[in-house]
């Protein structure tokens, strides 16, 4: 398979399609936690009860729905295939470990996914490229209406949708954006901003890596509170804060361009050079350099590379994907070699013809 075919066939819409404000917002995601009345939650369900949930969801999705979801039984998949699903954000790390009667249903473009028997009986999500939290919410809300017409969701007037963990009760909704913030990071404004965001009831974490060092300057921002606020309020709050972040990030990128143009250009072109010629590369280094290259594209310093290179490659270069492409288990060193080769190929692809 050529690299272009691979990208088109194996990657989800949010990684390859253009989206609004995508210079800062990589993707927008909304997920809902739902459970079936009275059947114990997955952490306490017997095998028979887990099977019952699986069958109920299977039946609910069997009919021709406007969402075209296909349910996959995760027990039928290999370790590598499950890891790939996790790397595409279609299933959680917990579900990637596999197990009986655990599944995921997703649409062809992989915008919608519904996990079955994760922490809750159902975890539905919508991921869109760019800044489209409102749109993602509208779609998931429609999906929820459909599912509710088929399944008896656990709901109480007081505590809303009832979930396994009390931190999800109420709306059961988590809305989030993945943002790319190199400008705020390079100008040392990031801590301040993120603390402010925290005080507004939003949680921030690095997309990759642990601790305060977010690899690739990629952060996930989501609502913390799910009870006592309407879905619209949650979306609205996230949208307002994200809009502020976009403005701040653009401001500091321009500031960098004005005041430290030569240093910045050097940093970006060095990153470009390493990605074009490296023989071996870890995913940590790759993500860091891809962040610089993406910034270079957004600032017009690099002109012949497709901007979606960041969102494509942060997924394609993960261990599961590399092993799927090669069709076998790879050692760490082999992965570093294949990763570098894949990146070199992808960089040259956009140079000559672009991906579209």
């Amino acid at each position: 398979m050529s690299l272009q075919d691979l990208i088109k066939k194996e990657l989800s819409k949010w990684m390859i399609a253009p989206g609004p404000e995508s210079d800062v917002v990589v993707s927008s995601r909304v997920r809902l936690a739902r459970n079936i009345t009275a059947i114990p939650f997955p952490n306490r369900a017997t095998t028979e009860e887990a099977e019952k949930i699986f069958d109920l969801v299977k039946n609910a999705l069997k009919e021709h729905t406007p969402f075209e979801l296909n349910l996959v039984d995760l027990a039928q998949l290999s370790d590598i295939d499950r890891t790939v699903l996790m790397e595409k954000h279609l299933i959680s790390p917990q579900l990637a470990r596999g197990g009986q009667y655990k599944g995921v249903a997703f649409s062809n473009d992989e915008v919608i996914s519904v996990m079955v028997n994760e922490e809750d009986h159902l975890r539905a999500q919508v991921i869109y490229p760019g800044f489209q939290v409102e749109e993602a919410f509208q779609l998931i809300n429609k999906l929820d209406d459909y599912l509710e017409s088929k399944l008896d969701f656990a709901f109480s007037e007081k505590y809303g949708y009832l979930t396994s963990c009390p931190t999800n009760a109420g709306t059961g909704m988590r809305a989030s954006v993945m943002v790319h913030l190199p400008g705020l990071t390079y100008t040392n404004r990031i801590q301040q901003l993120l603390q402010g965001v925290n005080q507004l009831g939003l949680a921030v974490r690095g997309v990759f890596g642990e601790g305060t060092e977010a690899q690739g300057n990629l952060y996930q921002i989501s609502n913390q509170v799910t009870l006592g606020r309407t879905e619209e309020e949650i979306v609205d709050n996230l949208n307002r804060v994200t809009t502020q972040i976009i403005q701040q990030e653009r401001h500091w990128r321009n500031q960098l361009l004005e005041e430290r143009k030569e240093d910045l250009t050097d940093r970006i072109l060095r990153a470009y050079g390493i990605l074009m010629y490296a023989h071996k590369i870890s995913s940590e280094e790759a993500v860091r350099l891809l962040s610089s290259v993406r910034l270079g594209i957004d600032l017009g310093i690099i002109k012949n590379v497709n901007p979606s290179i960041l969102s494509e490659l942060i997924v394609l270069i993960r261990p599961g994907f590399l092993q799927m492409i090669e069709g076998k288990q790879l050692s760490t060193e082999e992965r570093d070699l294949h990763r570098a080769a894949l990146i070199r190929k992808r960089m040259r692809l956009s140079q000559n013809q672009g991906i579209e």
Partner: protein, 175 residues
């Protein structure tokens, strides 16, 4: 004060977290605080379930220690309240009913609220929707009376009456 994480050592670190004006306080011993790492923004130093265990632990209110805790258990899935306190997860949707009186405090600590205001499922939520509508009409009625719009108020009163009739039918149908 005993550490809310290990429930063994004396607590010496006091952490206050404020979300939406709602204060969450946790007391830790030095060792647990160290193990939990820094209190920075990006890491989540406490697993949420540890935190919940802290919130639910009877040690939080030392004065209540000598009140014997009743053994509460969910009739549907047999999860006890203590077990819930330890793992921080419910066993099934019925647990919410079974443990209700104790949940409100916990929910206010987590969410700053103990009342759902969001979406109501269409099919199961008929009665809830009606109740919501009645409340809205009552507010409107109050406003109309305040503005001395008595014709409007009379109409609203009739609407409320109709809705209440509907409500009792729905209720009768369910129970």
């Amino acid at each position: 004060m005993i550490c809310q994480n290990c429930n063994e050592r004396q607590a010496s670190v006091h952490l206050t977290k404020i979300i939406n004006g709602e204060k969450t306080e946790i007391y830790l011993c030095e060792q647990c605080a160290k193990e939990k790492g820094e209190f920075g923004f990006a890491t989540d130093p406490f697993s949420i379930h540890n935190l919940l265990a802290g919130i639910l632990s009877p040690d939080v209110h030392p004065s209540r220690n000598f009140v014997k805790q009743e053994v509460e258990q969910c009739k549907n899935c047999n999860m006890s309240f203590d077990e819930f306190g330890k793992i921080g997860r419910f066993g099934c949707s019925d647990c919410y009913d079974e443990f209700d009186p104790r949940l409100a405090v916990m929910m206010r600590r987590i969410h700053g609220s103990d009342q759902h205001t969001g979406k109501v499922p269409e099919r199961q939520g008929q009665t809830i929707l009606i109740k919501k509508r009645i409340n809205e009409l009552r507010t409107e009625l109050q406003r109309a009376i305040a503005k001395e719009e008595f014709e409007k108020a009379a109409k609203l009163r009739d609407q409320i009456y109709d809705m209440e009739k509907k409500e009792s039918i729905e209720d009768g149908g369910v129970e």
